[in-house]
């Protein structure tokens, strides 16, 4: 199940009269719960809960992660507590390398320093190089190359050092 499918599911729940949807597929269980439309903008807030039930994504520690956000927002994130999370400052497309055939800026387990470029988020041909704001080790990369990202979406989890 990819982000696009989850996004469509959330949209489907938003657009429908149902308030809760639970789905299990390829080792991932997803529950989308809609609350009464109480936010100022009138859009219902949606809770997405994802649980790894077998193969697929590892979820050490807590059995699941919860993200509360406006409609259309995403995805399961942060598995290890205390990770320093780097988030996207804008909506766009996530790139792990400066060009398609180049090496990624960083890999899991790489040591990074504050200020080092981790990825690029592109929107309307504006390339935003996202720097790390902490020294540490890349513990998680939450998004795949070329996927769309939302504002404030978690991109990297960094295990701080020093």
């Amino acid at each position: 199940m990819n982000i696009e499918q989850i996004r469509e599911l959330i949209q489907a729940v938003c657009d429908s009269g149902i308030t809760e949807l639970e789905l299990e597929r390829t080792g991932v269980k997803i529950r989308i719960r809609k609350e009464a439309p109480s936010s100022p903008a009138g859009s219902p807030s949606v809770t997405v809960e994802a649980t790894a039930t077998g193969i697929g994504r590892e979820a050490p520690g807590a059995a699941g992660a919860e993200a509360i956000a406006g409609a259309g927002s995403l995805p399961p994130e942060a598995t290890e507590p205390d990770l320093h999370v780097i988030r996207s400052p804008m909506v766009g497309t996530f790139y792990r390398a400066a060009k398609p055939d180049a090496d990624p800026f960083v890999q899991v387990a790489d040591r990074v320093r504050s200020g080092q470029t981790l990825c690029i988020v592109e929107a309307m041909k504006l390339m935003n190089e996202i720097p790390s704001d902490a020294d540490g080790e890349i513990a998680e990369i939450y998004v795949n190359n070329g996927e769309p990202v939302e504002y404030n979406q978690a991109l990297f989890g960094i295990r701080r050092t020093g």
Binding site: G92, A98, P100, K125, M127, N128, N145, G146
Partner: protein, 330 residues
């Protein structure tokens, strides 16, 4: 031919004297004195300059001048046409750089003020989106990067790209006198193909933009293009039937951009969206394919969102907003 960086600096010095000073004809003794070079070293530098294809003319009295000086977008030739307060008031001209965006970024990191401009006659590593190559022809094109420090939220910054595209299309129309058409997000099309591309790079923390580097490439003079792009690209000279003065075009670009940029800073993208859409024949009702790595989308264009994203009406009737990708028309 690769020469040492110090030679590159000497060539830039030479061009500054020949093209960016009130005097046009120089005796070699005066050049050697001004550049603090021995006469023998100056001869080497002049030979190198000529070997690179620059039309350095040596008169019978041994005085030299540069035949194309008037068309070089150097500070003193751009400035008379500038009406800006900020943009282009500092202008650095280079014969050759890897990429004007990289040079501008180094200047920005060293504290360059907003509006600082880098122009080059040649790029050895010109870039487009996703690391694609931007081809240029030495001494014929505009290769320009601009340092901006907008006080807006980073999330609003992509809108800047529509502003730059609109400014470039206005400037091309004004100086070359030819019809222009915008292709989302910021390509400028003229009869015959694309003449201008924009690549913007931002350096920001969440919540604060440190600087934005706006890179603009315009195919200006000459009537031949590299084979690989000849079918899709064109030059202003090809479309207008005559050479276009580059210093005036640089100034027009900066003049138009500053006017639109001030609106953008003050009131955001919204007041500019209508003007942008009015300058684009393809923003509504055009069947398109938007291609991204691993994903493509077919539909019909349906205008711009408030953020400047391209709206696409899919074949199943759903409306999608596109923020990135190559828009391919069929």
């Amino acid at each position: 031919m690769r020469e040492l960086p110090s030679s590159g600096r000497q060539l830039d010095r030479l061009v500054k004297l020949l093209a960016d000073s009130p005097r046009e004809v120089w005796s070699q003794a005066e050049l050697a004195r001004s550049m603090e070079l021995s006469p023998a070293r100056l001869s080497e530098v002049l030979a190198m300059f000529q070997a690179e294809g620059w039309p350095l003319e040596v008169r019978s009295d041994q005085r030299v001048w540069l035949a194309t000086a008037a068309d070089m977008p150097v500070a003193s030739r751009v400035r008379p046409h500038l009406t800006t307060d900020r943009l282009g008031r500092r202008c650095h001209h280079y014969l050759r750089v890897a990429s004007t965006n990289d040079t501008a970024r180094r200047l920005a990191e060293a504290g360059a003020v907003e509006g600082t401009v880098v122009v080059a006659e040649e790029q050895t590593g010109g870039r487009g989106r996703l690391g694609r190559t931007w081809l240029s022809r030495k001494g014929k094109d505009i290769l320009l990067s601009l340092v901006l420090r907008p006080h807006v939220d980073p999330a609003q910054a992509p809108g800047l790209n529509l502003v730059v595209g609109l400014a470039a299309s206005q400037a091309v129309g004004e100086v070359a006198g030819i019809p222009t058409d915008l292709k989302w997000p910021n390509d400028v099309l003229i009869p015959g193909g694309k003449c201008c591309g924009v690549l913007t790079e931002m350096n920001a923390d969440p919540g604060k933009i440190h600087f934005v580097i706006v890179g603009v490439g315009i195919n200006v003079n000459g009537t031949s293009l590299p084979k690989s792009i000849a079918g899709q690209a064109s030059t202003l000279e090809l479309a207008s039937g005559g050479p276009v003065p580059r210093p005036r075009l640089v100034a027009a670009l900066l003049n138009r951009l500053e006017a639109l940029y001030l609106v953008f800073l003050d009131r955001g993208l919204r007041p500019l969206l209508e003007r942008w859409a009015a300058s684009s024949s393809s923003v509504r009702g055009r069947p398109v394919l938007v291609s991204n790595p691993g994903r493509s989308l077919r539909g019909t264009t349906a205008g711009l969102s408030g953020q400047g994203a391209l709206r696409i009406r899919r074949e199943d009737g759903r409306l999608e907003e596109v923020l990135a990708g190559d828009v391919v028309q069929w």
